[in-house]
């Protein structure tokens, strides 16, 4: 095995979908860059709505875009203080697992017709199931930092998780019915605009994405004017950086899923281009970015709901809407109405 063959083997391994996807394209690398861009964009949009400049002085010509790299470096080199009577191992593992498990669903999200890391007939259900792992670590973090505020924050996160997951499952089932399959690749392949098929399910899914990632009206777990930073009160340094990044990663994954289910994946790309994953992937990323920008624009518009409001929305409003979505899609499939694009 000469060195060149070894290199060639490594390169071919890297290009394999099940390696390239989670590490590079829809996986960590792009998500990482996207997070920095997103946080910067969020602060800039909020600043513009509030008639001010926002981050500026780091790389002034580009409007302070490197500010986020500077923040990241600060988190990296800041000393993460671990409180004396906190549960040390769980305290450190919490944010790492929170950030890590938020990535797992990207393993099943197809980027183009041929390029999908893992393919299975029920990949939609697997993605939804993997999605619900990461929020549990908020509870763990809340308990581990042995601080009253984080305990309350963790419990609040627990309540909210339960209240939005059922509408999430039901609304995905409602839209999956119209596609007739649970395999994400086939769903994306059908190039149908899910939003037009079942707008109610799209609305529920959108509200749930903003609820699960604590976007603005639902930023309840870490409400700083009530319970300081919620579960993350005791964190500093890179551990705090991870917890902050985790919610953005989750939003990235959920908006990718939203584009596949409702915005027709890589819709306008036709047969000859779908072979090579770059173009459809970029289009899907662009659509996901639109969904995310709407999410971060809400920070400039909304105050914060109270915990019981969010729970009432989750249990009463979203649940009924998702049942409505199911009936709506049942109605359509029953009437055998030709499903238009």
């Amino acid at each position: 095995m000469s060195v060149s063959e070894l290199i060639r083997w490594i390169v071919s391994l890297l290009l394999k979908p099940y390696v390239f996807a989670p590490i590079f394209f829809p996986g960590i690398a792009t998500a990482f860059i996207l997070i920095l861009l997103l946080i910067w964009l969020e602060r800039k949009i909020a600043a513009k709505v509030q008639l001010r400049y926002g981050p500026l002085y780091v790389s002034k010509r580009f409007g302070g875009i490197l500010q986020l790299v500077a923040d990241l470096l600060r988190y990296l080199f800041q000393e993460p203080i671990i409180p004396k009577n906190a549960d040390k191992i769980v305290f450190i593992l919490g944010p790492i697992l929170l950030f890590g498990t938020a990535y797992i669903p990207t393993a099943l999200i197809p980027v183009s017709g041929s390029f999908v890391p893992f393919r299975s007939e029920v990949s939609l259900l697997v993605v939804i199931a993997l999605l619900s792992i990461s929020p549990l670590f908020d509870l763990v973090i809340g308990w581990a930092s042995n601080n009253k505020f984080s305990l309350i924050g963790g419990l609040r996160e627990g309540y909210i998780i339960v209240s939005y997951e059922i509408p999430l499952f039901i609304s995905t089932i409602a839209i999956a019915m119209l596609y007739g399959t649970l395999d994400l690749v086939e769903i994306a392949g059908q190039n149908k605009w899910g939003v037009l098929l079942n707008p109610i399910a799209a609305l529920v899914f959108l509200i749930v994405t903003y609820m699960s990632t604590a976007r603005f009206p639902f930023e309840i777990a870490e409400a700083e004017s009530e319970i300081v930073m919620g579960p993350y009160t005791e964190y500093s340094g890179i551990l705090y950086g991870l917890t902050m990044g985790a919610s953005y990663v989750k939003m990235y994954v959920l908006s990718l899923l939203f584009t596949i289910l409702f915005l027709g994946g890589w819709n306008p790309v036709f047969w000859p281009f779908t072979l090579h994953p770059i173009l459809p992937g970029l289009i899907m990323l662009a659509k996901a970015l639109v969904v995310m920008v709407i999410g971060i624009f809400l920070r400039a518009v909304y105050p914060r709901y109270r915990i019981d409001h969010a729970l009432s929305i989750g249990w009463k409003l979203l649940l009924t809407l998702s049942f409505l979505a199911v009936c709506y899609s049942l109605l359509i499939t029953y009437l055998q109405v030709v499903v238009w694009v």
Binding site: A46, V49, Q50, L51, R52, K148, F149, I152, F216, P217, E219, I220, A223, E224, S225, E226, I227, V228, R299, A300, V301, Y302, P303, R304, Y305, R306, I307, D308, H309
Partner: protein, 387 residues
């Protein structure tokens, strides 16, 4: 049973409490008992006042309620003028009310901004503090200072209104009226704000009277009491404006009361700019003490020099009481003089100190998330309370 109760200390370094501390007992998410703990920014204004000359007390009484400095200054001077037996000329009274009302508007914007950030709407906070800047710019043009004006002196005011002031003020007021519509759309009528504030921290009318509460918090519960209307001082009797009284008494009514009061103050300022008479801005017996050289300086620049007697003012022994309707409520001053150039005793009761009693009354039975909502809606200013 007691294991269920969780004791929480919110403050004094808490983002949601300002420089005071809440000692809260919580059962789950519901507050069982709340005790405010104030005094973190107590600076003993009343003790220091006993070692200062009468003129030197003006900047001292302004400092505690920094968001609304014209009104304590006015209240102290009204009490002092009763002791000195001095009457300000007509134009000076108009200028005093002008500064007081401009200060009321930007103090209300401060309150709306703080309520906004307490509820999580950073836009309401940034807008509030941006719109304050418009009014502060006007006050800077009139008095030469941004916040701590020390503009009102015994017998009148320190500066006359510059010529460019009227036209610039009218433009600013029209801008503020346009902005209030955007506040309504984005923050005040926002369904999330309504959900957070309606029915939260309800203060019934009889409790508001029983607890001796002041300002918009009192009027939002239906009590018809505004010092400018009940016992008009300066030229408030010559100005027509109506007292903002609402009846729900919840946090949302307090917010709306402040916005309506901004609109009333705009009405008052417009009348002042139209009806202000010409004439001197300092009482005759003090004005004639100014050397002629400085009288021409005053007529050319509008800046008044102090007569030398101000450094050693000696009012006749006696006591005087004055009350003024500040942005957050009623200021009450009680000055006792013993004939020397320093007061024997100065009693300053600021509106926030009269509102402290509300916290333990209002917070019980609400959720933790309601603490910032109620705290923000009361427009409580810790340094003003601690003095």
């Amino acid at each position: 049973m007691s294991e269920r109760i969780l004791e929480l200390y919110i403050g004094p370094q808490h983002p949601g409490s300002g420089h005071m501390r809440f000692h809260i007992k919580v059962d789950g998410d519901i507050i069982v008992e709340a005790q405010p703990n104030i005094g973190y920014v107590h600076r003993a204004v009343e003790k220091i006042a006993e070692t200062k000359k009468y003129i030197q007390i003006i900047p001292l009484v302004e400092r505690p309620s920094l968001a609304d400095t014209a009104n304590p200054n006015l209240c102290y001077i009204l009490a002092l003028e009763k002791l000195l037996g001095v009457e300000p000329p007509e134009r000076a009274s108009y200028l005093r009310v002008l500064l007081a009302e401009m200060n009321r508007i930007h103090s209300h914007f401060y309150g709306i901004g703080i309520l906004g950030i307490m509820l999580g709407s950073s836009t309401a906070f940034m807008w509030g503090f941006a719109d304050r800047e418009i009014l502060i710019d006007l006050c800077q043009l009139l008095t030469g200072a941004r916040i701590t004006y020390s503009y009102i002196i015994p017998g009148g005011v320190r500066r006359d209104m510059p010529k460019s002031f009227v036209e610039r003020a009218l433009k600013a007021l029209r801008y503020i009226e346009k902005r209030l519509k955007d506040y309504d759309n984005l923050f005040i009528e926002n369904p999330v704000t309504k959900a957070r504030l309606e029915g939260v921290g309800v203060l019934k009318k009889k409790d508001a009277i029983r607890l001796g509460v002041v300002g918009p918090n009192l009027r939002a519960s239906g009590v018809r009491y505004d010092v400018r209307k009940n016992t008009p001082y300066c030229v408030y009797d010559k100005l027509d404006f109506d007292m903002v009284v609402l009846k729900e008494g919840d946090s949302y009514a307090r917010l709306r009361a402040r916005v309506l009061e901004i609109k009333e103050s705009i009405k008052i300022i417009r009348q002042i700019l139209k009806e202000i008479p010409e004439g001197p801005i300092l009482a005759e017996n003090y004005y004639k003490m100014i050397p002629p050289k400085w009288k021409d300086y005053y007529s050319s620049t509008g800046i008044l020099k102090f007569p030398a007697i101000f450094a050693r003012l000696k009012p006749s022994p006696g006591e005087a009481v004055a009350r003024v309707e500040g942005g957050r409520g009623e200021f009450f001053f009680y000055v006792i003089s013993d004939g020397t150039d320093k007061p024997y005793r100065l009693r300053m009761v600021s509106p926030s100190y009269r509102n402290v009693i509300l916290f333990s009354h209002l917070l019980k039975g609400h959720r933790i998330a309601d603490i910032p909502a109620i705290y923000g809606s009361l427009d409580y200013f810790p340094p003003g309370a601690d003095r």
